[in-house]
Symmetry: none
Subunit: 214 residues, 4 copies
Amino acid sequence: MGAVKTKRMPRAVREQQMLDAAVQTFGQRGYMAASMDDIAELAGVSKPLVYLYLNSKDDLFTACIRREAKALTAAVRAGVHPELPADRQLWEGLLAFFTHTARHPDGWSVLHLQARTHGETFAAEVTAMRTEIVTFVTQLIADAAREAHRDPDLPDKEVAGLAEALVGAAESLATWANATPGVTARQAAATLMNFAWAGLGDLMAGRAWSPPPA
Amino acid sequence: MGAVKTKRMPRAVREQQMLDAAVQTFGQRGYMAASMDDIAELAGVSKPLVYLYLNSKDDLFTACIRREAKALTAAVRAGVHPELPADRQLWEGLLAFFTHTARHPDGWSVLHLQARTHGETFAAEVTAMRTEIVTFVTQLIADAAREAHRDPDLPDKEVAGLAEALVGAAESLATWANATPGVTARQAAATLMNFAWAGLGDLMAGRAWSPPPA
Amino acid sequence: MGAVKTKRMPRAVREQQMLDAAVQTFGQRGYMAASMDDIAELAGVSKPLVYLYLNSKDDLFTACIRREAKALTAAVRAGVHPELPADRQLWEGLLAFFTHTARHPDGWSVLHLQARTHGETFAAEVTAMRTEIVTFVTQLIADAAREAHRDPDLPDKEVAGLAEALVGAAESLATWANATPGVTARQAAATLMNFAWAGLGDLMAGRAWSPPPA
Amino acid sequence: MGAVKTKRMPRAVREQQMLDAAVQTFGQRGYMAASMDDIAELAGVSKPLVYLYLNSKDDLFTACIRREAKALTAAVRAGVHPELPADRQLWEGLLAFFTHTARHPDGWSVLHLQARTHGETFAAEVTAMRTEIVTFVTQLIADAAREAHRDPDLPDKEVAGLAEALVGAAESLATWANATPGVTARQAAATLMNFAWAGLGDLMAGRAWSPPPA
DNA sequence: TATGAATGAGCATTCATTCAT
DNA sequence: CATGAATGAATGCTCATTCAT
């Protein structure tokens, strides 16, 4: 399973091997249960080399988070065509998101579960990425509203809340899809898209809803 | 913060103190990073007493999960009046949910983050509770659809997906609300309720949405 | 298995129950592996009561050793009729010894294994009993030799060595018999008696044996 | 007494140092009372290194048993010249046995006392060695009988019992000799040899002995 | 570039023992 | 006479981290 033991590789390659091993180990065993021994062995190198290149367990974990966050945002960005209408962009973004998380379950576990579960420092690292995605979605929603000439009614705060809810749902669905055999990225995206676009209220023939007084 | 060091308490009381301390410690530091020393000290007792009453770190954690899960479901149940219409019930459930998670952030961290991140055994413990909530929401959606005479069009599988997305969004929002100062339970509930009931498509004048061909 | 939980027993009775439980536990689990909790539970009393009566784990163990040593020597003494010839006395002593050790395997384990394995203090306690038995056997051998008018040839030291060897063989056989199903006390006694009385040299038609020069 | 604290030794050497320390500690304090800290300190290394090389307390103990068992059987084998007559071989074997146990009292304590007192797994490890020795002695007795043309009278079971008694006596004498100042290996061997070869009956002018009816 | 050898510090767990009632 | 409540002090074991080569 581990990388083939080859000697004298250039540093950049070795580092990637180590990060691969680390993401896999962190993702499957969890941050604390993953030992540096495990990671070094899986990477096919000695432990001191891991320390030489990646410095410490914390730094290694941070490097994993950054690499996976970058890969995920890149995948989403690459999937979206900004010239298309907002709903289409949202669909493409979700599809790219679920596809990537399905292909890199360990990376997703690192980002969504491990990083948020082991201290503020790591969580902050993910928050940066999340903020980027939420901002992107917020923009999409605002754009869509503008296209439909509805913007005057929508306070920014409300839009932010909706984006937050949408992203939260997406994250939950990604984890759920990874854990549930037979659920494809496409299905997950379609489910969420339906939910987001049509809403449940649609079921009730557009009946409006507003919170009762406290 | 720790309990006042009072001697010779009856077992039941001490056990609750220990569970309080454990939930707080597990919730803030994480399952693995929380040491039994930390917990015992915070509970104001010696470590052996923790073991005498709660048996092991695993058992202690399980006891925390069960207590918090029971408390959360009880809170939601208590908030819902089954004789009201479905939308009203959903609102009440969400409000109770966000109120409880806001009041017990450590408990929510234990349930949503820690228990799901440290082994199938613990995760299964939470799954039971989650299933109960998803079932409740699924029922609500179906009821709402029936009230609106729309049931024939709704396959069960679709309803399940929607419920899953809704609960996932709620869970994410709860964590986000706890981490974001100034967001009240009421606001979180309203945001999600709007999202769920109206959908984003409403923003676009009811324009229907369907996935493009692959 | 443990004593029936009866309240308010006279001290002497309670003490015997505790010693019974202790001998059983020490004999089966070993001195260190036996916990005071185990013993108290098996005795059907609370731990503080054990401490009240027997003072400490060391004292409890010492009490066990003394009680079992006394019982064993008493059994051997009771089996021997001093007016009989030496060989008959030896036979009776061995038979009583193997019978007692077979009936009280835990006590024998305490005396022969546990007490000798956990520190000089306990070992010394057994040595006292052992010395008594070795002395008895030494006397028997000397008597037998005198009866056969062979005493002039036998230095005391030699006799002591022979007694030591005989007792050692008996102890080993007792343990072996307890661990080997189907070996009766009678058989063990007969085997050793044959060995002791006839010797192996007898097999070789009385051919004498003397150590070669160093 | 502990090894001089020398740094950076090759693994094989360190392992022997650890085993030396472990045998000494187990032999003197007993298996359970010997702490891994004690052993590591006596070996002049840190505890983690002991675990790195020897894995666990159980494994370390097993390694001790095996090493000492191998050393003892090797010593006995080396002392015996198979071309000599049976009595001479027995003498040499006993002499080698008592010499080795006298030179390695801690090893003998590990084999004879500790290993037999702390669980079947360890006991089984010694049983293998013991069986080898008993078999050797059984063979010797049978050979001696054949040389003396007495074999027809000797049932196998009887021979086995005699061998068992002889080995048991030897084991007890070894422990006794180690605990009794002034007793040399030579003396112990001679005593047992006399006992085994001549028997006590010889003292009584060949008077035969047979068990009285029950 | 790469590693075998080594450790300080901490953790879950257990146990003999005591106190207050 | 008897016990529920409580703890100080180990103990086996693991891990992140470093040094010498």
